[in-house]
């Protein structure tokens, strides 16, 4: 088995993977003819309008500009917005009665998300003003930034300046006016900011694994966004996650043993949260978003964003390398993961609001989402909110001797969080538990739908059988 053991993989793999790649199907999705792909590679005319020059020479297309090598600036912009709009309409992400909160980090992806949501709102407003019956209201838009300065302290002047820049970006958008919420990540604890900050620091310090720490912070960021959305009456949360980002998540989740829950995280819609999350940029590459920011001079605020470390860092450099070697790799990764069966919550729940429903019906194209499962999964991990695989629920023997709330909490987490976030030492576990913010605790108590009860039953059984043995 000389080379059948995988060792021979890539030498040969390199020769062939060109043949393996399918033409990415997304063009078909937004109305650009897919069969135009192979032509016109020899001169620099836009594939779509066949009039203007492409933004970048075709040879550079692989090098990291995505569609920039095939389209002129206008068509590129139109194509990118088309992907966004298709994702929004096909998945009924935004209905006229919605109030959407755009999570803004200052980086190019969320900047484009903000821009596109804004353009969509702007058009809706124009239509509204022009229409006679005014039957379709215009959805509202707000912007949120989670300030993690408490965890990664930056120079405070620089930081304040960044916040000012973001405020300016938001306020410079044409009306309707968008509210801008800046919340320190410590505010998931209480309104007392400094107390929350200290507890948060302690909480993160209780996590020894670098990757675990980073992931916990990510989960807390989501809690903060949910909190802002909930407190301010938003009905959807828009994230700027692009194909490249999602590809990294696919690999990272696989590496962390989260194969079961992975399908939940990478769909256009994720309604397991109180405020459903939507990913309208799921089909856009990071290079394309960067390119748009350059072309349209969309201001970004880069100072705040940090590169990831640990497993996440390793994964993102791996994906970057693969993407450089083959520019459709990220799409292929996301396409593969897209074939996994999604969960029942990966669609916008039906609303009672007749008006909105009608409107979204009108817009919504009949689409593919047919979750196989009719039953909701039993429970979610209280930390990362991943659906739990039944066979991963711990056997009762694993916490026979630990029936403290902390111990039971630890046992109700997914294996991945148990490994990289939850402390192993019982005493540090008690401390960790005492530092958790309320939403996570209550999620463990009731959000887990019966998980907790199930665990208690298991403990009861265990206690009974112990007694029997003893007598």
């Amino acid at each position: 088995m000389a080379c059948s053991t995988g060792t021979c993989q890539s030498g040969c793999y390199k020769d062939n993977n060109e043949e393996e790649e399918q033409v990415p199907k997304r063009e078909a999705a937004n109305g650009v003819t897919p069969n135009g792909n192979d032509i016109d590679h020899h001169h620099n005319l836009c594939l779509k309008c066949k009039v203007n020059e492409t933004i970048a020479p075709p040879s550079a297309a692989g090098g990291g500009v995505g569609d920039g090598g095939r389209f002129c600036a206008d068509c590129f912009r139109g194509n990118l917005f088309g992907k966004f709009r298709f994702a929004v309409t096909a998945n009924a992400m935004i209905s006229p009665s919605d109030k959407v909160l755009v999570a803004f980090s200052g980086g190019p992806s969320s900047r484009v998300a903000l821009q596109f949501v804004h353009e969509m709102q702007h058009k809706a407003q124009k239509n509204f003003d022009a229409s006679r019956d005014r039957s379709l209201p215009v959805f509202g838009v707000g912007v949120a930034f989670i300030d993690e300065n408490a965890i990664y302290p930056a120079c405070s002047r620089e930081f304040d300046q960044s916040i000012e820049e973001m405020k300016l970006i938001v306020s410079n958008l044409a009306p309707p006016r968008k509210e801008f919420h800046v919340a320190p990540i410590g505010s998931i604890y209480s309104s007392d900011f400094s107390d929350g900050r200290d507890r948060l620091k302690e909480l993160l310090n209780a996590v020894s694994d670098v990757t675990g720490k980073e992931d916990l912070l990510l989960h807390l960021r989501m809690l903060s966004l949910q909190k802002i959305a909930l407190e301010n009456g938003y009905t959807k949360l828009v994230l700027g996650s692009c194909t490249s980002r999602i590809a990294c998540h696919v690999i990272a989740a696989t590496v962390k043993g989260q194969g079961y829950s992975l399908a939940a995280d990478i769909q256009y819609v994720d309604a397991r949260w109180e405020i459903p999350i939507v990913l309208p940029l799921r089909d856009c590459l990071t290079q394309e978003l960067n390119m748009l920011c350059c072309l349209d001079r969309l201001e970004t605020v880069e100072a705040i964003n940090r590169p990831c470390s640990g497993i996440n860092g390793l994964v993102s450099s791996f994906v970057k390398l693969l993407q450089e070697e083959n520019p459709s790799r990220e799409c292929t990764i996301v396409r593969t993961a897209g074939k996994l069966t999604p969960f029942h919550f990966n669609r916008i729940p039906e609303t009672d609001d007749g008006n909105a429903h009608l409107a979204s019906q009108r817009r919504q194209k009949k689409f593919n989402l047919k979750p196989n499962e009719s039953l909701p999964p039993e429970s979610f991990c209280p930390i990362c909110h991943s659906p739990l695989n039944n066979c991963d629920l711990p056997s009762f023997s694993s916490f026979e001797d630990d029936q403290t709330s902390a111990g039971i909490f630890g046992a109700s987490c997914c294996p991945s969080c148990r490994f990289q976030i939850v402390p192993k030492e019982p005493s540090s576990m008690v401390q960790f538990y005492s530092l958790l913010p309320q939403p996570i605790i209550s999620r463990a108590k009731d959000g887990g739908c019966g998980n907790q009860r199930w665990l208690r039953e298991q403990i009861q059984d265990c206690l009974l059988s112990d007694n029997e043995d003893g007598t």
Binding site: M1, A2, S4, T5, G6, T7
Partner: protein, 98 residues
């Protein structure tokens, strides 16, 4: 300092297909020879081709096992392991063949 170095699992191909090397490594007077020093020495003196198969950054390439006196170097502090007279160091690649 006299050391016995052994290359296996295909790494011998990087040093003229010789598996066992009895070598004399000089170190500064009073200074301890660590694995870190030894790796640098091996790279300069023994590895004849494709050093990237052996090293990555300042340590051995992931997938290369190192044993100092038949003991996994992960137990003795990896690069900080100090070597003594007549020690034996084995490098085995796990990356070849199956």
């Amino acid at each position: 300092m006299q050391l016995t170095l052994e290359f296996g699992g295909g790494l011998e191909l990087l040093c003229d297909s010789v598996k066992v090397h009895n070598v004399n490594v000089d170190q500064g007077a009073g200074e301890k020879l660590t694995m870190k020093n030894l790796l640098a020495w091996v790279c300069t003196n023994l590895i004849k081709e494709r050093p990237e198969m052996f090293m990555k950054e300042d340590t051995v390439r992931p997938g290369v096992l190192v044993l100092v006196n038949d003991c996994d170097w992960e137990l003795s502090g990896q690069l900080d392991t100090t070597l003594e007279e007549k020690d034996s160091v084995v490098f085995i690649s796990t990356l070849h063949g199956g």
